[in-house]
């Protein structure tokens, strides 16, 4: 003991000595990371451009890969200037770190996946947010977001041409032995096609969390929302929620949530929920290196029937179990189960037996790390039952994958995913439920190779197959994709880098060949710090 004290004293003295000797040495200044990239690409596309451009439009010809300025206090990014798809972001700390400004602009063009040429759709969003720290623990936030969507379909679907604008003002932070949050939101939805009614939503929310001891927390949250549509009655929603967390010991945790939501929806002319009360009780217990969590949930719903003549009481109950821990130092196992059922069903009309009366979920995750490698296995089982209609639906998913170092800068990544569906009950026959179940298989193999700090090569192969009986011979039900992406990057001594991407992709629809496409993408880009 005496030796330990002496050692501490000596180390303390030594540290003080170093402090005196080196305190005058200057630290390195803050470094900014500025980066600029240009590129050229060719699609080499044959077949359905609409399917290829389902989510994004990669650049063709010359493009701006990016312009970036990163500094701890300021960040600016711009990608894809001049292309159909662009994105810009700015982030800055102002007023000695008290004020944070964040803006974002994004524009993307895409198409409805179809076998015939599809009209172009466009979405752009702009967002700006200001956050001011009144004290280190209390912040005021204002945010505005504009989201414009012009979407057109290959089918008879009514197009979208809509604008959504949202304002929200928030004051939140530590207050007394707890945390206060006040929020106001104003949200406008405008449909330029005049197909759907415009909507203005206003919401007020307040919550306070009280923590009398570090082991106990009580939070009350109250909100009211008001929905206004032109020439229609006002709709309202009130929400009152109580959260409780209690940690009675180092290994035990108890949580309770009580929530009551009351709605008044005078515009609705068929069935609607007037009140919903939810209670959740959870218990977590640490048992050695394992953790057991049990939760029970009860939901009571009161809703108007289809003809709005009488109120129906409905009740749903559920239980959840989670057991997780380590089999050994490297291997983790998690088991999860959930069962939910209606304990009181609405019974005024046969339509109400439409709901699943029982839902069950079972999951298992197993992952293990070994010398620089990682493997994982996941199983998921879901079951839905409608006992009144004797309908059952079941889905099983298996996933196995991992990363393995092959040596000398070379590593292998692989993953295989299988999903199977089963159904019984309902109307059988040519177009019965079992004829529309999608079975899927996905395989991915990746190779990464790095030669020193200069050269890196990434190769990624993805193959997926989905199949159904597809009695109506519709597109997208029986599809196969083979995607290969090879990327080579070479870093020059001055910090600039050349990248080459070659991507032969092949998508095939076995029912509707008009959906097929073949892509031979070639892209080259150059980037440099400055």
């Amino acid at each position: 003991m005496v030796a330990m004290k002496n050692a501490r004293w000596l180390l303390g003295w030594f540290g003080s000595g170093l402090l005196i000797a080196q305190a005058q040495q200057p630290l390195l200044s803050k470094q900014a990371d500025t980066w600029f990239g240009l590129g050229w690409s060719s699609w080499g596309l044959r077949g359905s451009a609409a399917k290829f451009r389902q989510y994004a439009t990669p650049p063709r010809g010359f493009f701006l890969q990016g312009l970036r300025y990163l500094h701890p206090a300021t960040q600016l990014r711009w990608q894809g200037g001049g292309d159909q798809d662009t994105r810009g972001e700015a982030f800055a700390h102002l007023l000695i770190g008290r004020l944070t400004l964040q803006t974002q602009h994004a524009r993307s063009q895409f198409t409805d996946p179809a076998g015939v040429p599809s009209p172009e759709s466009e979405r752009h969003s702009d967002e700006v947010a200001l956050r001011y720290l009144l004290t280190p623990d209390f912040a005021l936030t204002a945010r505005f977001r504009n989201d414009t969507l012009r979407r057109r379909f290959a089918s008879t679907h009514v197009p979208y041409n809509q604008v959504t604008e949202a304002w929200d003002l928030t004051a939140e932070g530590a207050l007394g032995a707890g945390r206060l949050s006040l929020q106001y939101t104003c949200w406008h939805y405008r449909d330029r096609t005049r197909t759907r009614p415009n909507l203005t939503l206003q919401r007020w929310q307040t919550s306070y969390l009280w923590e009398p001891t570090p082991a106990l927390g009580l939070e009350v949250s109250l909100s009211e929302a008001r929905f206004a549509q032109p020439q229609r009655a006002i709709n309202r929603l009130q929400n009152l929620t109580l959260f409780t967390n209690w940690i009675p010991g180092a290994t035990t945790e108890v949580g309770l949530m009580l929530q009551r939501e009351r709605l008044n929806l005078p515009v609705v002319r068929n069935s609607w929920t007037r009140e919903r009360s939810t209670g959740t009780l959870s218990l977590g217990q640490q048992i050695g290196t394992w953790r057991l969590q049990i939760g029970i949930r009860r939901q009571a719903i009161e809703r108007w029937d289809r003809d709005q003549e009488r109120l129906e009481p409905i009740q749903r109950e559920g239980i959840e179990l989670r057991f997780s821990g380590r089999l050994n130092r490297q291997t983790r196992l998690t088991l999860y189960g959930m069962s939910q059922r209606w304990s009181r069903q609405a019974s005024s009309t046969p339509r109400d037996t439409l709901f699943w009366s029982r839902r069950e979920v079972a999951r298992m995750n197993l992952d293990s790390r070994f010398a620089n490698g990682f493997v994982y296995l996941t199983f998921s089982h879901q079951r839905w039952l409608n006992e009144a209609r004797a309908t059952r639906l079941r889905s099983d998913q298996w996933l196995v994958g991992g990363t393995y170092p092959l040596g000398a800068g070379l590593s292998l990544t692989a993953e295989h995913w299988v999903e199977r569906w089963q159904a019984s009950g309902g109307v059988d026959g040519l177009i019965g439920l079992p004829r529309f179940l999608p079975d899927t298989r996905t395989t991915m193999v990746g190779l990464q190779w790095a030669s020193g700090m200069r050269l890196s090569v990434d190769l990624l192969l993805t193959h997926f197959v989905s199949s159904t009986d597809n009695p109506l011979l519709l597109p997208d039900g029986n599809a196969e994709g083979r995607f290969m992406t090879l990327s080579v990057r070479y870093l020059l001594p001055n910090g600039s880098a050349w990248s080459l991407t070659v991507a032969p992709w092949h998508y095939r629809d076995r029912v509707d060949p008009r959906m097929d496409y073949r892509l031979s993408l070639f892209a080259i880009s150059w980037s440099t710090p400055f």
Partner: protein, 351 residues
């Protein structure tokens, strides 16, 4: 026994029987003794637990102003860490003279330097984040991040329940992201390392890696679903996981607005309603709302549906068999075009 039941049924009973009288006076006593015992137990456990939970915040409570030596004092032994911290996104908040000394520089996170220098070998004399428990990490971080959430709000999250801490996802010193080698292996689109052709949403600078790759390290099953034929455009870089998932449960104020139904209506605003004729699964008060029909991460079916084509409707509307116009999908046939809810037709035949 039968006579006793008869007395109880007649509303007489209790006062007439000596044994019942004893029960009548004993039961409340037993009840209150149990309550008092439980209360005592809870109080004792809470005090014991409060003592156990003292570290690491006790370092700040017990420190004198002179115990804070400033960032320069850390340089002689931890020079590289000080430099990497100064280049991190955390630094601008903590390098200002107007802040109290316990909120500045290295000592704001690691505790007062003088205590560390006095007791260098004492593990509880300094906060070493790689050595302490996840709960202790979270308590230390939330000491300053009161505007984000409090410890009991953190305990409600699934991540806390899975034994994670703030440092499972966040980095404080710069360059950990590059060193960790966290990159995505989601194949489409054309994004491999720096050779990204599509504009992608950038991750928060304090995260350990690119957000999608970071989340997929634990959520492998969900990440795999993004490889399916129809998915939300995460691999294309149009979205991030946190655009839908609230990792910090109290941050909705600084995120996008949240409406009554699901977070889905933030982007799919036309589904907000209320409609004159509601479709129960889409209305969202009786079941799993949008998830009754859609798989948000990805699906082999168009529109990210759970089942293919008419199978989706047939799972509930089992009575709609072969007689019910089996030409195409129920909605693409031009019939039930307003299946999310209609303002004009109870059968959702028009908007």
């Amino acid at each position: 026994m039968a006579k006793r039941e008869q007395r109880v049924a007649n509303g007489k009973g209790r006062a007439e029987s000596g044994n019942d009288f004893c029960h009548a006076s004993l039961l409340p006593c037993l009840f209150w003794c149990t309550v008092a015992g439980l209360g005592l137990l809870i109080l004792t456990a809470a005090r014991q637990h409060a003592r156990e939970r003292a570290f690491p915040l006790n370092l700040f409570r017990e420190a004198q102003p002179s115990d804070y030596l400033g960032e320069q004092a850390c340089v002689p032994c931890h020079r590289s860490y000080v430099i990497s911290f100064r280049n991190s996104a955390h630094a601008p908040y903590m390098a200002k003279a107007h802040l109290p000394p316990d909120r500045q520089g290295c000592e704001a996170c690691h505790g007062p330097g003088a205590i560390h220098l006095r007791e260098v070998l004492e593990p509880k004399g300094i906060i070493r984040y790689s050595k302490i428990q996840p709960e202790e990490v979270s308590r230390a971080c939330l000491r300053c991040h009161g505007a984000t959430m409090r410890p009991s709000q953190w305990h409600r999250t699934a991540h806390a329940k899975a034994g994670l801490s703030c440092l499972s996802c966040h980095q404080i010193h710069q360059n950990a992201r590059k060193e960790s080698g966290v990159t995505t292996t989601l194949s489409p689109p054309l994004s491999t390392g720096e050779a990204t052709l599509s504009p992608i949403a950038s991750s928060h600078p304090l995260l350990k890696g690119e957000e999608v790759a970071l989340c997929s390290r634990c959520h492998a099953r969900e990440a795999s679903e993004f490889r399916l034929n129809f998915h939300h455009p995460l691999p294309e870089g149009r979205l991030l996981c946190t655009d839908c998932h609230d990792v910090h449960p109290t941050r909705e104020g600084v995120k996008r607005v949240r409406l009554i139904r699901e977070m889905c209506t933030n982007c799919h605003a036309d589904k907000t309603g209320p409609f004159a004729f509601e479709h129960d699964p889409a209305a969202g008060w009786m079941g799993d709302s949008c998830l009754e029909c859609h798989r948000p991460h990805g699906s082999p079916n168009p529109r990210m549906l759970k089942l293919f084509s008419r199978g989706l409707c047939a799972q509930c509307h089992t009575e709609k068999g072969v007689q019910h116009y089996p030409a195409r999908n129920c909605w693409e046939s031009g019939c039930h075009v307003a299946h999310h809810g209609s303002n004009s037709d109870p059968l959702f035949l028009s908007h």
